[in-house]
């Protein structure tokens, strides 16, 4: 097999907005079959980067490509093949979990009901209750199901385990592992074992769930213009290859 294809490539991505925060000149590559951890202190611009990849924000400068789709020009096709879990998840409160997932599935052109029912069962999620009556953790589970249910080729997860209890976090990690390794999920026809995966965690989430230990030498600092109150560093960790049970092998990258 040839080297894995590039799943995600950002080149010189820059976003300034207001005088608040943003990112400047961010370049990175994620290969298919890779779990990529994107770490940084609060306000470093992790979410901004993610929201630019999804087309929610327009880059001030730079380019990005996901699976060959340009993040600006081919945003809709990109999103058809991406599963996204927002960091600050907000759902339609008045719907039941099942109605909500059915709506999302229809907007995606139809995902077999069996898929999200199965995922919900794995995460012990009761789909018959209204979203507004669910705890934060259970809402987060709906977000996880919504991100995984259409077997996307790229998963973009912003603090995916926040609000989940430790047992569900473990189940979530198994889900990620299976997805990347093409395990249980490969029987779904669109999966075909060619998963690539980018997981974006906040500092704390990745510390606890991925056993990633940042060393001082991997910590880069670069001056950033017009980003006043935000911290001046961010750090990219690349988890090369499929994550293992004992912990995830870490290859640090820079941004």
């Amino acid at each position: 097999m040839d080297g894995p294809a590039t799943a995600l490539r950002l080149q010189g991505l820059t976003k300034f907005y207001g005088s608040q925060r943003g990112i400047e000149d961010l370049s990175l590559d994620v290969k298919t079959g890779e779990v990529f951890g994107f770490l940084g202190p609060n306000g470093a611009g992790k979410t901004t980067t993610i929201r630019m990849i999804l087309g929610l924000l327009h880059p001030t400068d730079g380019t990005g490509e996901v699976l060959g789709f340009d993040i600006v020009k081919d945003s809709v096709a990109l999103r058809a093949n991406t599963g996204y879990l927002p960091g600050d998840l907000a759902l339609y409160d008045r719907m039941t979990g099942r109605d909500l997932l059915e709506f999302l599935s229809r907007m995606r052109g139809g995902v077999p009901r069996q898929r999200y029912e199965e995922l919900a069962e794995r995460l012990h999620l009761d789909l018959s209750r209204r979203v507004k009556d669910l705890s934060r953790g259970n809402r987060q589970k709906i977000g996880v199901v919504a991100a995984f249910m259409h077997s996307p080729q790229l998963l973009v997860l912003d603090e995916p385990t926040s609000g989940l209890d430790p047992l569900v976090q473990q189940e979530f990690q198994r889900l990620v592992r299976e997805t990347v390794e093409g395990g249980a999920w490969s029987r779904w026809p669109t999966g075909s074992g060619s998963w690539c995966m980018a997981a974006w965690w906040s500092w704390t989430a990745s510390m606890s769930c991925a056993n990633a230990r940042p060393g001082a030498s991997n910590w880069t600092s670069r001056p950033r213009r017009r980003i006043s109150p935000a911290p001046r560093e961010c750090n990219v960790w690349k988890f090369a290859g499929p994550p293992r049970r004992a912990g995830l092998p870490v290859r640090p990258g820079l941004c």
């Binding site: 058809a80 998840l89 709506f103 907007m107 996307p152």
Partner: protein
Amino acid sequence: MSAVVLPIPRAMPQVLTLTLRTLRERWRSTFGWGLGLVLIGIMQLAVYPSVATSSEGMQAFVDQWPDALKEAFSLDAYTTGAGFLNAEMFSMMVPLVLIAIACTGAAAATAGEEERGTADVLLSLPVSRGRVMAAKVLATVIAVLLVAAATLLTIAVGAPLVDLDVGVGDLTAGIAMTTLLALFFGAVTLIVGALTGKRTVALGVGVGLALAAFLLNALAPMADWLEPWQKASPFEWALGDSPLVNGLDVPMAGLLLALSIIGVIVADVLYHRHDIGGR
């Protein structure tokens, strides 16, 4: 590496799914506004016979009012069927309720999703912002049309029962002009919502402008310095020619429709350029 690339879903099912979802979400408030308007219509119709039987006294009473007041409250032909409906329903209640539905719908359309934070989920789906805009506009137009139709039906059925003389064609024209007026202010609200992403700002500007236009139209006859400005009020464009008496004012209807469509297009362009704010 045989990665299966998922296609972009087809437009129609996507737009209809989102339209239905939006309608379901707005169903309760739309039903409430509609029921209110229908009940007011029934109440006014119930009062009409007593106005008609005492028509001479009533008209004489109204005639004593200053001309400006009469004009402001559309009282010039109070005891005729069309005049009564004009004064009691079409000079204020019907337009304001339809405007309220159009503006709340338009403000919720893009800015409401953004303010609640649900825009992140919606716009991470393989749906273009143009389709989202189309579905949201469709849902709002349907809501306004449903309430307008219910009002029309109530008056059209009720009027003969109380011997209120108004042509169904003229009545339809009156409702149509009012609906277009509401859609116009809805389009204004939509533009502000797409530009700012703030529901309350959009609603404030849309409803605020509508109220200003309403007051301008109502008060202009009373103040000489204000009178030339009456022509600037969309209320005057829509209802100045008394559609309940004179039927559809085609040029003005066309103007309101064209401005509304242009407004939606402008809103769509702005929405495409808009950065969706995080919560």
